[in-house]
């Protein structure tokens, strides 16, 4: 049954996708979770959700990915959207420079609402549109270094780097989590410091699952 397969994971991470409207967040998500891409996909209204499990080392890591409408940057969804997120892909469109300029604002909002340990990757999407490129790889790399985020260019259309972008983020989270229990002391909504994050049925706090976590 589907719901039993759902249980077969060792780690459960919440990852958010943010970025301006039309940069291709939903297509990145559908490419990663369903291997689908649509040139004619509708704009996202509010939030959309998807999950996918991948294997890191010998562990199953389940990603819960929250994809928000680009226009929701003014937080109609409430800051609860970010609550419990341990990873983020901040997406821009390599053919529209303004979407790259706005990355800074997205990062600020992200950092205002999440834990300092959050794993962030800057993603330049639509890299297949080479002739229309408006943001150079160097610029983006430099920016990512300054902001100490990971960086990758992707193409959801050509299925380029999509898998690796998500996998990289999830692996990095896994490294952080498996080395030390994620420190979430700054988050008032989170359980007391020092305790491994409790999943307790509530999955909007991503964390290590059940027995698997504490021994490692």
């Amino acid at each position: 049954m589907a719901y039993r397969a759902e249980d077969d994971y060792d780690y459960l991470f919440k990852v958010v996708l943010i970025g301006d409207s039309g940069v291709g967040k939903s297509n990145l998500l559908s490419r990663f979770t369903r291997n689908e891409f649509s040139l004619e996909s509708k704009s996202t209204i509010g939030v959309e959700f998807a999950t996918r499990s991948i294997r890191v080392d010998d562990k199953v890591v389940k990603a819960q990915i929250w994809d928000t409408a680009g226009q929701e940057r003014y937080r109609a969804i409430t800051s609860a959207y970010y609550r419990g997120a341990v990873g983020a892909l901040v997406v821009y469109d390599v053919t529209r420079h303004v979407t790259f300029e706005n990355v800074e604002r997205w990062l600020k909002e992200l950092r205002d609402h999440t834990d300092a340990n959050i794993v962030i990757m800057l993603v330049g999407n639509k890299a297949d549109l080479r002739h229309l490129r408006a943001v150079s790889v160097e610029d983006a790399k430099g920016f990512a270094e300054r902001e100490s985020t990971f960086f990758m260019e992707t193409s959801a259309l050509e299925s380029m780097n999509v898998e690796s972008a998500f996998t990289e983020v999830l692996t990095q989270i896994y490294r952080v989590v498996s080395k030390k229990a994620l420190d979430i002391g700054d988050d008032p909504a989170a359980p007391p410091r020092g305790q491994t994050i409790n999943v307790g049925g509530k999955d909007d706090v991503s964390a290590v699952k059940k027995s698997g976590c504490c021994s490692s």
Partner: protein, 744 residues
């Protein structure tokens, strides 16, 4: 599909766009309005849009000559002044860019219509004009998807008219066209032509057409009132009409529900917590869900599924993303035809628990949401994480029974309206000691969703229940209900004797049940139901006789159905597995009950002098009637609401000894019941068997791999989660019940 709130408009029966225009307040809603008035109203709104568009969509390259030379210091393309024509022009261009980005992604599956440049530019202009007209809201993603179906139905109307016109081409040929409608002499003269050509010889003039078609021609006559501007179904003014509809939908047209609220980011004025209207509405959805299905509600709350995560999209595009356009139109039919004014005029909207629930339209929208959630019940309960729940909620299945979904929503709508009245919480506590009255009511309603018969007596019960409810609303409730009570008793005692005699002759089982009702230790009000039920029988011996004559089986199955209803209610309450179980039972029951239908219809329609009429008056006194009979003019719904006494009967079944409690009727009951027992037993056994079948079906669902399922096995393999354990326990319980039933 038309709701009683808006009178049926025969001329718009096949014109969804025109109907929606009436429902949204663009065209006069009353069926009595003349065609000329209709046309004038249409023309007025079109003029308005044309003016707005002229004023707001500025082209700085033109229009400078009339008002004299423009001040070139302000009015030039490099001007930094934001108020300059050019400044505005550039701002509009920005907005247009955003609109186009969304419009290009609109309904790709119906690109033949929506992706045409004509359609795209129309939609773009409407949204641009609207967001310039209402800068306080501006354009937000999703608005384009609210607008698109409006234009679509207007287009469909025009296409429909074209088809009809082609059918009756001869009425609109040159010979005819030179005259103003209705010119009968001229029309008749066109006979010659028709006869010569031998085409559609039957229809020779406008007067020969059926009224609908005639109206269709009259509202679309280019020579009627307001001329071309007054053509109701006009391709040329589709843009104007769509704008007006969109505007009224967005601002609610002085009604309660304004869709702009769902886009608003500022706190709702009525909110005590300072949350946005869409969050308020989302909480109202959970509130409503909690009152009809507390286990699903608490499951979602436990997982941390916040309602606004899915409700935001559901509400902003009015379910446009959850259904195919074809299905969506049916849902919008229901939503728009529900009045948007406050449900109860003597209560200010601020007194309601939830503002959005205070109009029938708002209540239906939220009920639709709850109905959708109930549809997903089992898969939601099977999900262990918020994200999996949200994935399900935002990927609503395509193969749905839309009719049932809407039907459930309309039932919920009436519950929602009543539950939202300021005094409802008081009522709930004082009158109904059941922990969750609305949930119980819903379960009973739900379980009887397919039932058509066997509700004669419930009819009365319901009337009484309603009356009791409305009584508590007044200050003198105690004395009044006492009076009613004694009145009942008097009446019953005089009327009972003949009834019982009748019953004895005919072996009507319900009499046993009904009379036993007072023995049941349940709150007083429900006893009254029983009394008024027996009173109903008593008041009409002929009726009782009739019922009996149709045979005992009929009545028995009526009772069985109730236990079934309760059983499925029980199932959905305690097992937390699947709502479909209930439905399956209902289906089974439905078969058993077929023979009852005619007899019930008979009885219901019988105008009894006492109970029937009085009930109707009682109904009138209740709040349910305040909005043009949302509930009461729905016969099917009423039947469902009536089954409020279903539980009582079941309780009797489970505790037969209680009925022996030493009241005077017991003897009579026994004598009646003996003869009916055989029938009853047979049916109960049948019930037990069908129950087992259904249980097996559920078990299979849990463990599709093994065909020889047993509860014990299930328990082993599924003990991991408490939810599942609960479900298994409930199944076990059900097994026991079915075993008992079969052994009877």
């Amino acid at each position: 599909m038309t709701m009683p709130g808006s009178p049926a408009r025969p001329s718009f029966s096949s014109l969804r766009g025109a109907r929606w225009r009436a429902d949204l307040g663009i065209l006069p809603g009353s069926a009595a309005v003349s065609i000329d008035e209709l046309r004038r109203a249409a023309a007025d709104t079109r003029r308005r849009y044309a003016n707005l568009r002229r004023r707001l969509l500025i082209d700085p390259h033109l229009s400078k000559d009339e008002a004299g030379a423009p001040d070139l210091i302000v009015e030039n393309p490099l001007s930094q002044n934001p108020d300059s024509t050019w400044g505005q022009y550039f701002r509009n261009a920005e907005l247009e860019k955003m609109l186009n980005q969304d419009l290009s992604r609109l309904y790709p599956e119906l690109g033949d219509f929506f992706q045409t440049s004509a359609c795209q530019s129309m939609l773009g202009r409407i949204l641009l004009v609207w967001s310039l007209r209402y800068p306080e809201f501006g354009y937000r993603q999703g608005m384009h998807e609210l607008l698109a179906p409006l234009l679509y139905v207007l287009h469909a109307d025009v296409q429909h008219f074209k088809q009809v016109r082609d059918l009756h081409e001869e009425l609109l040929d040159d010979d005819f066209d030179g005259q103003t409608f209705p010119d009968r002499s001229k029309l008749n003269r066109s006979d010659r032509k028709n006869n010569v050509e031998g085409r559609t010889s039957k229809i020779r003039s406008l007067a020969d057409l059926d009224p609908d078609t005639r109206d269709l021609f009259l509202i679309n006559d280019a020579y009627g009132a307001e001329g071309e501007l007054g053509i109701i179904l006009s391709e040329k003014f589709m843009e104007h009409d769509a704008y007006s509809m969109f505007e009224n939908l967005m601002n609610g047209a002085q009604g309660v529900v304004a869709i702009t609220d769902f886009y608003s980011l500022s706190p709702a004025p009525e909110s005590s917590t300072g949350s946005t209207p869409v969050r308020e509405a989302s909480s109202a959805i959970y509130h409503l869900l909690a009152s009809v299905d507390s286990s699903l509600h608490s499951h979602l709350v436990e997982l941390g599924v916040e309602p606004q995560y899915f409700a935001l999209r559901w509400l902003r595009v009015l379910f446009g993303r959850e259904f195919s356009l074809d299905n969506l139109l049916f849902i919008w039919d229901e939503i728009f035809s529900s009045p948007n004014h406050s449900y109860s005029t003597d209560i200010s909207t601020t007194d309601y628990q939830f503002k959005v629930l205070s109009s029938p339209r708002g209540a239906l929208i939220l009920s639709m949401a709850v109905s959708m959630m109930l549809h997903l019940r089992s898969s939601l309960l099977g999900s262990e994480h918020a994200t999996s729940c949200l994935v399900r909620l935002l990927n609503f299945p395509e193969d749905i029974d839309l009719k049932t979904l809407i039907e459930k929503a309309t039932i919920l709508q009436s519950l929602a309206l009543e539950a939202n009245l300021p005094s409802s919480s008081v009522r709930g506590k004082s009158l109904l000691t059941t922990p969750n009255y609305w949930e119980e009511t819903w379960k009973i309603l739900q379980s009887s969703i397919d039932q058509k018969g066997g509700d004669v007596f419930k009819m009365k019960g319901r009337g009484f229940l309603r009356r009791s409810l409305s009584n508590t609303n007044t200050e003198s409730n105690v004395s009044r209900s006492k009076a009613a009570n004694s009145e009942n008793n008097n009446f019953t005692s005089t009327a009972r004797q003949p009834t019982i005699d009748e019953l004895r002759n005919t072996n009507v089982v319900p009499a046993k049940l009904i009379n036993s009702v007072p023995h049941i230790p349940i709150e007083e009000q429900k006893d009254h139901i029983g009394q008024s039920i027996s009173e109903a029988i008593g008041s009409n011996p002929k009726n009782a006789h009739e019922t009996g004559q149709r045979d005992g089986y009929c009545s028995t199955s009526g009772e069985i159905k109730d236990s079934l209803g309760a059983a499925s209610g029980y199932l959905s309450r305690s097992s937390s597995t699947s709502l479909s179980c209930g439905t399956e039972y209902d289906r089974d029951t439905h078969h058993m009950e077929e023979p009852c239908v005619p007899c019930d219809d008979n009885v219901v329609n019988e105008p009894y002098p006492h109970s029937g009429c009085r009930d109707r008056t009682d109904e009138a006194a209740t709040t349910m009637n305040r909005t043009s009979g949302i509930v009461d003019s729905h016969p099917v719904q009423q039947e469902r609401l009536c089954s409020g006494d279903g539980k009582l009967k079941i309780k009797y079944d489970q505790n037969p000894t209680m009925a022996e409690g030493g009241q005077k009727e017991t003897l009579v009951i026994r004598s009646i019941s003996n003869t009916a027992d055989k029938e009853l037993t047979r049916t109960l056994r049948y019930l037990g068997e069908s129950m087992v079948e259904n249980i097996q079906a559920i078990e299979l669902l849990f463990q599709p791999s093994s065909l020889s399922t047993s509860v014990e096995k299930l328990e082993k393999s599924m003990s991991r989660s408490t939810e599942q354990a609960k479900a298994v326990a409930a199944l076990k319980e059900l097994r026991k019940i079915s075993d008992h039933l079969r052994q009877i």
